[in-house]
Symmetry: C2
Subunit: 676 residues, 2 copies
């Protein structure tokens, strides 16, 4: 009974959310303040923009990009970006310029007012203008007499000052153009930090002129030149986004040692192994600090941001344990253990960073009372860890709950709030130390072809969590707006939807992939670390990622939709005939798909391993159809039948080919229903 009640409430909430969303304004992240007006403004080729107040070339470029995006969205070519018209459609006013280097906590607020006669957008500085223009672009839609924007007054500002996306370019290199289109996506959802994890055991990805063997020997030739980094930093700055560099040390730093083995705790000859290099930095040699000082001096120039991330996570103590000189150093310096040695290392690093005017950031493990309160903690461990730091006076960022590589549904990320759990009990002053959070795109299983689909659209839910008021929490409204945002993101060149088709063609090797698409639409990659845990032997970062698990969306839209429809049907007492027809239609397609897919599965080695799951889809769909037959007859199903079907469907829940079939739970709901 409790179960029924919960389901019923959820369904009601979803229904309310959907209807509200449709009469509401379709913006993501949801603005902090909004009043819907009456009427609308038509957008046509006479659209013009005028700027008053502060004015510079960067703002001009922003208006130019805005005009280009508006052109793409509407197909209308606008005469010119800004105009001297006396009655412009859009009046932009800003008071003063931005700093050459974007700072944490700069005012990002804006006020956008749209009525039938025009639009005004005002902000203290151009950052707010950038955000306001993105809000405006999301409001444009085809109306009955032309493209329109609804009348609305929005006053908006972010809840958190730090709204980041980490991209790990160490495990798999991500080319510059892919980063740029992702910066465009970030700007669309008002994120303001791109955190680049630039080195790891598998590759070192930035050109150092001082220590060229870092990139030359520590990578497969794929790295960013310094000119490319400067280009990226300026591209990001134009979009109101800071670039935060991370060079992970003393752990996750194997790629450094190929060129500079003297930095390793066990010097020797290192080569880039398939699984990456297993060693850590030696914190006991003065030469290590001399190297780091020169290296950081160079990188501090290249990356203008005030913050500098030194990683500091997951240091495997075995290498320090194995080196008698290191253990002797620990004892001779009055330290107790390896964590003390890491704290010593971090203190030395922090002094170097400070000399080069950088503020240190590290993962949870760097937290140590010996370090100054100015450092920033990024937490992969959770709000409790963050709260502990905040109580001690340290500021922090949440990344726990925002790991995109775990393939969670958007709603699960959305429910994670930096101020919840352990952080909820902090004092108001302590709470100010929680600066925001970062979505994390670790790339063990991610390559340029599929990275967009792992980041988008789910990251928009995290962006909303970090921008919008804490009360904005309704997953129904979130999903509605997420889907409407998703297709708009593809206009920016992101390939989160279109890329899948290319990968399916690669697997099939033929033009007709309809049956494969039907199958791919209802599966998801396995969750959490299941895939990594299933690897036999060392994980090989060079292995091809060309199976269905690499192409399938992390969250099946079709399955979520089916699940919603079944829930509505069951909650409504399974009476609605149109809904039943809709369910039958889906189930019939799925039941018949296995036979259509089979020739392909036999033909291609890349698809052979999905055969059992394709058979499951057919069997589960058949069970669902039989359940509907029982419901139609208004007679309870035999208990033996139910037991058999539930066993069959339960079996279909086990992952196969690293994929999960996502329609099993709603079919089980239908089966359960036939008991009454």
């Amino acid at each position: 009974m409790r179960n029924r009640l919960v389901l019923h409430t959820l369904f009601l909430l979803a229904a309310i959310a959907t209807s509200r969303a449709q009469t509401q304004i379709n913006v993501m992240p949801m603005p902090s303040g909004m009043q819907i007006g009456t009427g609308q403004l038509t957008i046509d080729s006479s659209f013009s923009v005028a700027i008053t107040g502060f004015h510079d070339e960067e703002l001009e470029r922003a208006i130019q990009r805005f005009a280009t995006e508006l052109s793409l969205q509407t197909g209308i070519r606008f005469r010119s970006a800004s105009s001297e018209s006396s009655s412009p459609t859009l009046r932009i006013h800003t008071e003063h310029g931005r700093d050459a280097v974007q700072e944490l906590g700069e005012d990002e607020s804006y006020a956008l007012s749209i009525n039938e006669s025009g639009i005004t957008l005002a902000a203290p500085n151009p950052l707010g203008i950038l955000h306001g223009l993105q809000t405006f672009l999301q409001l444009v839609e085809p109306g009955s007499n032309g493209f329109i924007v609804p009348a609305v007054t929005i006053t908006d500002h972010p809840r958190f000052a730090w709204r980041g996306l980490l991209i790990d370019v160490g495990r798999h290199f991500i080319p510059l153009d892919v980063l740029k289109r992702n910066l465009d996506g970030m700007a669309a959802v008002k994120m303001n930090v791109l955190h680049l994890h630039l080195s790891d055991d598998q590759g070192f990805r930035v050109e150092s002129k001082r220590f060229p063997k870092l990139q030359e020997m520590g990578s497969d030739g794929l790295y960013y030149t310094q000119n490319e980094i400067r280009d990226l930093v300026s591209y990001a700055h134009d979009r109101g986004i800071r670039i935060l560099p991370e060079f992970d040390t003393p752990g996750h730093s194997g790629s450094w040692f190929v060129g500079y083995p003297e930095l390793a705790s066990n010097p020797g000859r290192y080569t880039l192994e398939p699984g990456g290099i297993d060693s850590v930095t030696d914190p006991t040699r003065e030469a290590t600090y001399k190297f780091l000082d020169k290296f950081i001096a160079e990188m501090a120039q290249l990356f203008p941001d005030a913050y500098f991330h030194i990683g500091g996570d997951e240091v495997n103590g075995k290498h320090w344990d194995a080196n008698p000189k290191i253990q002797a150093f620990i004892r001779s310096h009055g330290m107790k253990n390896n964590p003390d040695l890491q704290a010593y290392f971090n203190r030395r690093l922090q002094v170097i960073l400070s000399k080069h005017n950088k503020i240190m950031i590290g993962w949870d493990e760097v937290l140590h009372p010996d370090l100054p309160k100015t450092i920033l903690i990024q937490s992969w461990r959770g709000q409790e860890s963050l709260a502990t730091a905040a109580r001690q006076g340290y500021s922090g960022l949440l990344s726990f709950g925002y790991y995109l590589d775990l393939m969670w549904p958007a709603a699960r990320h959305y429910a994670v709030d930096p101020m919840s759990g352990g952080a909820a009990t902090l004092s108001p002053e302590e709470k100010t130390r929680i600066l925001g959070g970062e979505a994390c795109m670790w790339t063990e299983w991610v390559i340029p072809e599929n990275i967009d689909s792992r980041i988008w659209p789910r990251t928009a839910a995290i962006a909303e969590r970090l921008w919008s008021p804490q009360e904005v929490q309704d997953p129904g409204s979130m999903y509605f707006r997420l889907q409407e945002l998703s297709w708009r993101l593809e206009w920016l060149g992101l390939t989160h939807t279109s890329g899948e088709v290319l990968m399916l063609h690669r697997m099939a090797g033929i033009d007709d992939i309809r049956a494969l698409r039907t199958f791919a639409e209802v599966v998801e990659p396995v969750k959490d670390y299941t895939r990594m845990n299933g690897v036999k032997g060392p994980w090989d970062f060079r292995a091809p990622l060309n199976h269905l698990v690499d192409a399938a969306s992390p969250e099946s839209k079709a399955a979520r939709h089916f699940s919603d429809v079944v829930r509505g049907y069951v909650e409504g007492g399974h009476k609605d005939q149109a809904t039943e027809a809709q369910i039958r239609n889906s189930l019939t397609t799925w039941r018949d798909n296995d036979a259509k897919l089979h020739p392909l599965l036999e033909q291609s080695f890349l698809l052979r391993d999905i055969a059992p799951l394709s058979a499951d889809l057919s069997a589960v769909a058949s069970a669902g159809l039989q359940a509907l037959d029982y419901l139609d007859k208004s007679r309870p199903s035999p208990e033996a039948w139910r037991a058999q079907q539930l066993a069959l469907t339960e079996q279909a829940k086990t992952p196969k080919a690293e994929l999960l079939l996502m329609i099993v739970a709603p079919v089980q709901q239908l089966i359960a229903c036939t008991a009454e």
Copy 2:
């Protein structure tokens, strides 16, 4: 009866073609010589390439691009482009290098041999290597134990030396990156000339440093800088493609006059009008030739190709008629009429071009006995016109029958042969003067978002006509290979398939576009000049192209497939139940689509005009379903019913919203069938 026989033969041919294609090699254009071997070669990450003989950086870049494309197609990252392995997978041998400027008629032949132990690719020069690598890429497919290429021996060379694609960047500017991805597409189908129509009445698209008002006043700011042109020329050269510039004159040259009105036949003040500028060059003033001499000197440097296209088509005589000075000039120089004046102009132009080491090309109209036999005629009028020129000793290219903007099906272009019709009766020597042809992408109704879908995949059929032996003519085989090529082309970044989805979202303004896609899949844009002829008032090249006619594919794959299935069903005596079920399934989807689409049609002004055609789709599908019901009952349908349905379906053939419903003819076939 004759009709039945023809249909039956066609169907048989298609069936043969399909089965042959499946056991044959899936390459487009079809090689001139091919022997299928036994067995296959597996492609894995150990794949390596070795080059013997001639070797340069351009060849290295070609191998690098090949490795990148092979990586994309397979998802396998290859260690390095070329290797020093003693047993490489692919051995490449070429004898000598290419000229710095690619010449017409350079040897493009290659020999590719694949067996279980490896691949050899040999060619006299790197052009053949480029073509052989493209053939190889098309042969790679996922097999049952890995990616494979079938054993085959191919010796291949082109039928015609000139295999071009014209892109009109005058009417609508096409950005550099779009041209580049189209060059990649051209290289994939072994085309070797990109002809850029660089100026017209709507815009002048190249930077002239000598006469900067050409691009600055004669365009909306969208033009290629000289650096961009150099970049494009070198990008094309790397891919074995020449860039042919066209500056159309004395007609189609309105954009020149905005900055330099003194060149016009009726000097005055010109501005870029919505319909373009209606005037022609004045051939009677010496200053015109001084200008052209300096301009051509500059452009001859910028475009290294030996040929230079001066247009010369469609000169509207009214401007010359209206100017008494021009008419006096005609009389005083002993000319009879305006065509004589144009011939005078062309002779003067030809002398200038010759001085700058360029060979003149022009459209049919430039043909005149006073011009030297070295000039080249490009024919939009047809093989007869080309044959006339060839008999007089002029060489020529065919473009008649290859106008992509007319929205013909690929098979119709495919059936046009440069040596057929008037050209078939030429002597062997005269035939050597027919150098090839060019597909033409005129852009009155084409913009960057839809240009790929207007060019691809249909242009591959024209590429095959110009490369493969004349006997290769089977449309069934062509379509089969065209579809298999089409998805591979999207790996090059072409958007001929994926772009449509974005445009449909723009029209719908929402995420769920399933019903719109179903509709879009069975319509095609109106053919020939129907759309231009329907324009009321002057055609405005700035008007938004954001309706369904701008997004819909020129050739409906779904309709062609449906038509094939219905033909098979009818020819087989409408007995096959599985085929009938398939037909029913399609018809039911189409019948029910109108109701699903209606909410969208009411919501968006961009879709409202398709409502009548959506209703037609539903009605036609219903008629088809009723026909199947009669056939099931094995009783003839009442004549009155047939008359009514044929009237209804005939009405559904009339274009609406500039679209044609493509499933009407096969449904009429079903209806006709019920008479017996």
